[in-house]
């Protein structure tokens, strides 16, 4: 078996192009989340068994039986293994949605083609997990018969309702962490909250499901038994609760683990891009570091590099992995914001900061400038598209004069004639058969289309070009700037008190200029969005976020450094523009 081929096929492209450390971090997190989900599976099974099968009068034998049916049963182990596969697959899908870059969809058909396969995959993954879990639980609770059928359908109903209630057309990424909460505490808190919430949701669903089942299926079996069995309804509720809890929890767990704070270090990325970076070396390095710490000896440089510490510049410069970039930029912001955020970036420590600051500044400013250029191109294209669209609509207006009868254009001899097989009659016959079949299928398709109500409107609806699609896409891609720019401004805010040696303050002009450029382009974009408000779908969330962030950055910078603008930027056009901007703040 070729490992490289497996790697190329199964590891997504966005992960393959990343530096080894980032790849390992993500994979490690995925594995950790999957392991937590496996543990969760056993926890939920134990809960189900203890609530349905535990006999208070004979606790020891009950426990024995429960252990016998779970840990020492081949059936349970196999089914659990299958469930684990399903859970890991579901997690993998969630991670793909989270990490993949935003996709450009120019019309609704593209969007449909992009979103629905993913939604279907997600739906089948959820259905698979729910089916297998229901099967496993039901096999402990009921024998073959109506109750078995009822409980199984209840589990499936639960999965469908979970999907309908929790998945919108646009699949969302895991939310960014607002605060670094202790993982263990967050886990415990989430566990209990989700169990309570699932219990409530499941009660509604059981109440709703019972009459549906009774009306639709119950009559062909023996419906009266199902309706009158209170215990069965309770079991159904418990099963629904646990399935819902599992589905909620899996998503939450993957979100929690994938969005855990990154271990950042202010170091040059070149030192950390060595060829021997692999999971084994990192674990070995961790053990050796422990040994060195216990022996109270200084840790060698090679060991420092062989750890999961990620250089700041490395994580901020990753491409094609949107979810990770968002997390990195948010982490950068948290590290830089606040008067006391000196853990990662101490401005007083000139020795360590000086060289890394230049690299970091260049990276952030280049990022912002590239975004400005991309946005500029997009706005230009949008204007051009609008002009073309205007011309087309004008040409599509009916003329006031009577239209002259159309003449069919004379058929010109086509240059690309299909190569007709002339060799044998048999092939000629096959070719003609194929032609006629194709013609009939086309005709049939046309007839079906003709019978569909509102066909033309439907077609127009699906193929309607979104003029701002490209702009929205660029804004979406530039969303990490929301946090990187605020982090950058945070550094300058701290520099007022901390930058005794003038490490960062010489770059004030550059940052003010960059912020001004970004804001100007976003203003132009907002003009375009407002003009096309009627024709395009809604407002752009990314634009709102970026606008709010840039305005806050401008406000902070101009209120703090505004009185010294002539000294910072010198007399000129920029100073005039910034002064005009300052007048608009309050």
């Amino acid at each position: 078996m070729n490992l490289q081929a497996i790697y190329d096929t199964w590891i997504p492209k966005y992960l393959q192009v990343q530096p080894a450390k980032i790849r390992i971090t993500i994979l490690y997190r995925f594995v950790f989340a999957s392991v937590l989900c496996f543990v969760l599976d056993y926890q939920l099974l134990a809960l189900f068994l203890s609530l349905t099968l535990f006999d208070v009068r004979r606790p020891v034998s009950s426990l024995n039986e429960a252990f016998g049916w779970t840990f020492f049963s081949v059936y349970t182990s196999v089914v659990m293994l299958v469930i684990r596969g399903g859970v890991a697959g579901y997690g993998w899908l969630l991670c793909n949605v989270h990490y993949s870059d935003p996709v450009l969809c120019r019309n609704r058909r593209d969007r449909f083609a992009e979103e629905w396969p993913l939604l279907l995959r997600m739906f089948f993954a959820i259905l698979f997990i729910a089916t297998m879990t229901s099967l496993l639980y039901v096999s402990f609770a009921a024998s073959e018969g109506e109750s078995w059928h009822y409980l199984l359908s209840c589990g499936l109903f639960c999965a469908v309702s979970y999907f309908v209630n929790n998945f919108e057309r646009h699949l969302t990424r895991f939310p960014l962490p607002m605060l670094h909460i202790d993982f263990h505490a967050a886990l415990l808190n989430t566990w209990w909250q989700i169990l309570k919430r699932s219990g409530r949701e499941a009660l509604y669903q059981t109440v709703l499901f019972s009459p549906i089942y009774w009306y639709s299926v119950g009559w062909c079996l023996d419906g009266t038994v199902t309706v009158t069995q209170t215990g069965l309804h309770l079991q159904g509720w418990l099963l629904s609760t646990l399935i819902l809890a599992k589905l909620h929890m899996v998503r939450k767990l993957y979100g929690l683990v994938m969005q855990r704070p990154l271990s950042l270090i202010n170091d040059s990325p070149k030192l950390h891009e060595t060829h021997d970076t692999c999971l084994f070396n990192i674990i070995l390095g961790h053990v050796l570091r422990c040994v060195y710490t216990m022996q109270m000896r200084p840790i060698p440089r090679s060991l420092q590099v062989n750890s999961l510490l990620l250089p700041l510049t490395m994580v901020l410069s990753v491409g094609r992995i949107h979810g990770f970039r968002m997390l990195a930029s948010r982490e950068f912001y948290s590290a830089m914001s606040g008067k006391l955020g000196r853990e990662l970036f101490a401005l007083n420590d000139v020795k360590n900061i000086h060289s890394n600051w230049t690299e970091l500044r260049d990276l952030l400013v280049t990022d912002a400038e590239e975004f400005v250029v991309r946005l500029q191109k997009c706005i230009g294209k949008c204007h051009a598209n609008k002009e073309i669209a205007g011309k087309v609509s004008r040409s599509r207006m009916r003329s006031l004069t009577k239209p002259s009868p159309r003449r069919k254009p004379a058929k010109e001899p086509s240059c690309e004639c299909p190569a007709k097989p002339q060799e044998t009659d048999y092939l000629k016959y096959l070719y003609l058969l194929g032609q006629s079949l194709r013609k009939r299928i086309r005709e049939f398709g046309r007839r079906v289309k003709g019978h569909l109500a509102g066909r033309r409107h439907w077609q127009c609806y699906m193929l309607e070009v979104d003029v701002l699609a490209e702009l929205h896409h660029e804004l979406c891609c530039g969303e990490p700037l929301v946090w990187t720019l605020q982090g950058l401004v945070g550094v300058f805010m701290r520099s007022v008190a901390d930058d005794r040696y003038g490490v960062v303050q010489p770059d004030l002009r550059l940052v003010l200029e960059t912020l001004h450029k970004v804001e100007r382009q976003l203003n132009l974009a907002s003009g375009l969005i407002h003009k096309n408000r009627c024709s395009c779908a809604g407002t752009c969330r990314s634009h709102e976020l970026l606008m709010a962030a840039v305005q806050r950055c401008q406000c902070r910078m101009l209120v703090t450094f505004g009185p010294h603008l002539d000294f910072i930027v010198g007399r000129g056009e920029l100073e005039k523009e910034l002064e005009e901007r300052m007048a608009l703040i309050y």
């Binding site: 006391l340 305005q551 608009l584």
Partner: protein
Amino acid sequence: MEQLDFGREFREASFGDGNANNQRNRSTIYRILKVIVHVFYELKKWISFMIEWFEIIANVPLNYLKEKKIIVHPDTLAEFNQSRGWKTAVYKGVEFHPNCPYELMALLTYHDIVVLHDERSIAPTKFSAYEQKNATCMAFRPWSHGYELAVGCAAGIFLWTSNVRSCPDFEIRDKQTRTRMQLLKDDGHVYVTSLQWNEDGTTLVSSSLGTNHIIMWDPDSRQKLRLIPHPGNGCSFFLLKYTPNFRALLCGQCDVGASLCVVGGRSNWRRFQVLTEHKIQTAGWTCCSTYILFVDKGSTILYSCKADEEMEVFLQPEPSWTLEKVTDLKEITTIYGEKREGGEPHTIVMDPFGIYIAIIFKDQPFVLLALLISPRGSRLIFRPLEYICYEVEEADKSDNDIFPICMGFAKPRIDEPHIRWLVIVWSSERVQRKVLEVNTMKEALNIHSLKNT
């Protein structure tokens, strides 16, 4: 090219017999669909009706599933509010913009209308909404473009945002309105009692009487996070105060005690229980973010609380707190010898410059202004300076019935950078400014001929 022939549809519609049949078939299909939809709605109605009856007959606690309606009596709100006479006052709250170089002040009225006074405009701006009732607190968002004001009330938090241009050449205003409103709400998070923005203005924390947790909001990303400062405690929080360095958040509990949550920087969120035996009336941080100054309910003593300095030696220790009595406010004598009866303080306000402390008492018609000196290595020193009384303009009106409601320290204006004010709102609908010309502790000590120790 086929799509451009608009006349074709018309021709086909006029002369096609087959299309008439189509229309008939379609109308049948539509009728069936209509019936199905109707049946579905009827079924839905009947199911909800059945559930209601099921709830009544079987006594199943389905009420638990619905959103709980929490009603808090105004007396309870008044008890925990930092404004004296909150229930009856015309102006029951005041807030100043933290960064605006001009004077921008928000006043909260009896009818829960926010009146925004901008010194540059002639008429004040008013914000009101139908759901904005029983408003208790306000907080301006720092570093916002224009102004953004969060108002905590019974329904949740109303976020009022001004719609200001960010480009001189452009005249784009969202929906052509001057202000936008956003309601931040969460299950049970009703009767909001306290609001605090973080240093950058990215997150807002709120406490409420409806829940036993606090919520951290990110209004831009529309995210929220529930935080539990004290697990196992079923009590709500009524007071939130960030330290001046925004590293920690003090959460005053409605029953006994307070919690301290470390929230700043990249460090993990940690919580400590402080003041376990005290029922807090009002509290504040000193400028150095070291001391918590607080007053017990029903007591006249002003206490200070400080974490042990040894705490910083160890990594993430459980800190121990040192409690010290600063002064007894039963009887007050100023440094100039003027003596008056004090009593139970209702609210204390700390000067952001770390010089003054202002106190409103529960039963006194004046505001006490005092110096708060924190010498290194020893306890805080409280030096009463003066009693600020209501300035009576009309000769026949006595000032006995008029009392201070709330107050705040306003930051210096751009044209007068050396002058600050203590703004006091009185029960007579008047707002009074007390000029403070001192910006450093050294100057204050020199002026009042005091020594640092």
